[in-house]
Symmetry: C2
């Protein structure tokens, strides 16, 4: 599939010298040719980037025109200077496309505690504004301009026909939690030409993020900069979506976000396995989520998968300390389709077969079933390898 920019938007990605390696893009501009709806969901960390402080006072809004995103510098823990820099970036981006200053959003990702080189940022915004385009090349450059330690850019597109109108949803994402040395953040921006009210956009984004980006983890370290934006130009035409059309859009938005979210642990540092954890039979989705997240973040579960060890004891005991009440006699577990634990008791299984299955597949599937209710969740994480530790510890060696 070719990646296309939804109607109403144009994009650019450039290098302006924020990153030391000038062969890497580090500034992206996404502009709407008309006032668009913008919704945002942000990190729950108490220590946040100046960009998060800035954007969350603006979204949701319906006068959005441009977002400037830099990589290589998170503008976090930068005090009043950081706040001034964000305001200036918004002003520069708005002025570059002849929009009012209050129509601009800002995202940053990269090193914490370092001031932005504002001269470079200023020049970068001008260059990017000159290069704004609707081409696939521009879209890929824009998706590259937001990366830090990612090994590849992450794009997802869905198209759907609603009545007479062809709707496109195009999303880009980067990172995973705080996977890199000194680096922070997962960022995602979803563009659509659908006609949405800002309230619908905000509500849908919140619901979809809960099922997608909030269901991934690399090492569980919540960043200061996590942000997801949904931008809707309405350029596809027609009335604002409602009823079945809105439901169909919601589903397509979930698909785009699922694809982007899954790509993040798939690209985690030093990762040799992506792990999908399905938790079923819980009292509530919150309880299922708490169990899945606890299993996903257990270093012992993650190292077991890295070592192709079908160690059901680590998985079951991790579930046990998620802070969720359950009957241990109701717990069953399978890994890659092999049942290892059945209603509270270990099952005889061929360790070599299960181990080979884990070893030979990059995807590992953990299915944990309880008998407390009907709620379920799907969660994605990574294994934990020596290479991850080397990458994150290798500072002075």
């Amino acid at each position: 599939m070719s990646f296309k920019v939804p109607d109403g938007f144009s994009v650019a990605g450039v290098s302006c010298g924020i990153k030391q390696d000038t062969s890497k893009l580090d500034l992206t501009l996404i502009a709407s040719d008309r006032p668009a709806v913008a919704a945002g969901v942000y990190t729950q960390n108490r220590v946040v980037s100046a960009t998060v402080v800035f954007d969350r006072t603006i979204t949701p809004c319906k006068n959005f025109r441009v977002v400037v995103i830099n990589s290589g510098n998170a503008n976090a823990c930068t005090g009043e200077q950081g706040a001034r820099d964000v305001a200036q970036m918004a002003q520069l981006a708005a002025r570059a496309i002849d929009a009012p200053a209050e129509a601009a959003l800002v995202l940053s990702t990269g090193v914490i505690g370092v001031y932005l080189p504002m001269d470079n940022v200023d020049a970068g915004i001008q260059t990017a504004a000159d290069r704004l385009a609707k081409t696939e090349t521009a879209l890929i450059a824009a998706a590259q301009g937001i990366l830090t330690t990612d090994t590849h850019h992450k794009l997802a597109v869905r198209e759907l026909t609603l009545g007479a109108h062809q709707i496109r949803i195009t999303g880009m994402a980067k990172g995973a939690a705080m996977i890199g040395p000194n680096m922070a953040t997962m960022l995602a921006v979803i563009m659509t030409d659908a006609n949405l009210t800002k309230d619908d956009a905000q509500r849908m984004l919140g619901e979809v993020v809960a099922e997608t980006f909030n269901c991934i983890s690399v090492e569980g370290h919540m960043s200061t900069n996590d942000s997801v934006l949904l931008l809707a130009s309405g350029a596809a035409g027609g009335e604002t979506l409602s009823g079945a059309d809105l439901v169909a859009f919601h589903g397509a938005l979930r698909d785009v976000c699922t694809e982007l979210a899954m790509a993040i642990p798939g690209d985690g540092e030093g990762v040799t396995h992506r792990i999908t954890i399905d938790v079923d039979g819980c009292k509530s989705r919150e309880e299922a989520h708490a169990i899945a997240k606890t299993v996903a973040e257990s270093a012992l579960v993650k190292t077991a998968v890295a070592g192709a060890d079908p160690n059901w004891g680590r998985i079951v005991s991790a579930a046990g300390y998620a802070g969720v009440a359950f009957d241990p006699a109701g717990v069953s577990l399978s890994v890659n389709g092999f049942q290892l634990f059945d209603h509270g008791c270990p099952v005889e299984f061929d360790e070599a077969s299960v181990s080979t299955s884990i070893h030979e597949n990059r995807e590992t599937r953990i299915e944990l079933t309880f008998r407390e209710g009907a709620a379920s969740v799907r969660f994605w994480t990574t294994d934990l390898t020596q290479e991850y530790v080397r990458l994150n510890a290798d500072y002075h060696t």
Copy 2:
């Protein structure tokens, strides 16, 4: 200091073939020559060993006579067979010292999901009963009989004079969370000849565990078997402790448990640094504990210490996702006495000096200060090294 058994107790440690390596001790007996007080604090995991189910219905009690502890097999996730085995171990231990069956406790640590070799356990209990002694040699053997992947036994002793009576407190401990391949559990048993009521014993043990064993973490994986017992024979004589004497005893008990708790992360697998985290200036001890534990369990903080990287951003941002409300502008941080962050702003510091200080000392000190209140906590953890991952993933390679 030589390690002595408190009056009223005798101990033994033997090898009975639960561990494959028969040069390693795997069964310990601790007996009281008279009915003693026993208090217990156990894992909060929902999935627990049959021993935890058994012991927590018995403690606190004042008719304790014997505890049998095996290592190499956790007797967890072993269903009805596991429950029968625990009951039988209690019966065998009680019979071996001519005590009533209800006077016996049982602790286990080791592999999950495997049935105990009860013939070996039976023979081991008989041998241990024959060897019960009050010597330092017997005490060290008993401390060795409870180890799994620990590299050395862990003992701590305090003596205090209360009025005319000489009181001794002798504790032993093993493990740390779930640090080993397939291994579980931290266990500790504290013996004293002090005369305590069972209610005082249980209350003090709960308070002391909250400040000591509940303030350590290796990888944060809560085990199915964690148990701490306080056994008080009263053989030192005198009335049951009260008033200032009880306060003095409480302090000495805390000292013993602090020393044992600190020894556990000090002996974690693949560890190159023990990290002490002091969190001050919080609204409550619970909030300080939540922040310290979140920092302690951040893989990014732990890998940074392993790499001698004074990465204050990882520490401050970990504090930010502990689920505790605080003013980021009130946060200050020092590492090994070097101030890195002051009231919400990074401080200029000599990275090379701080890095050298981390690199050249096995102990790392993190001090995080907030301005929310007067509550504080001290927490101990380890760094995260490639060797830890190798040990825990190296199953099929």
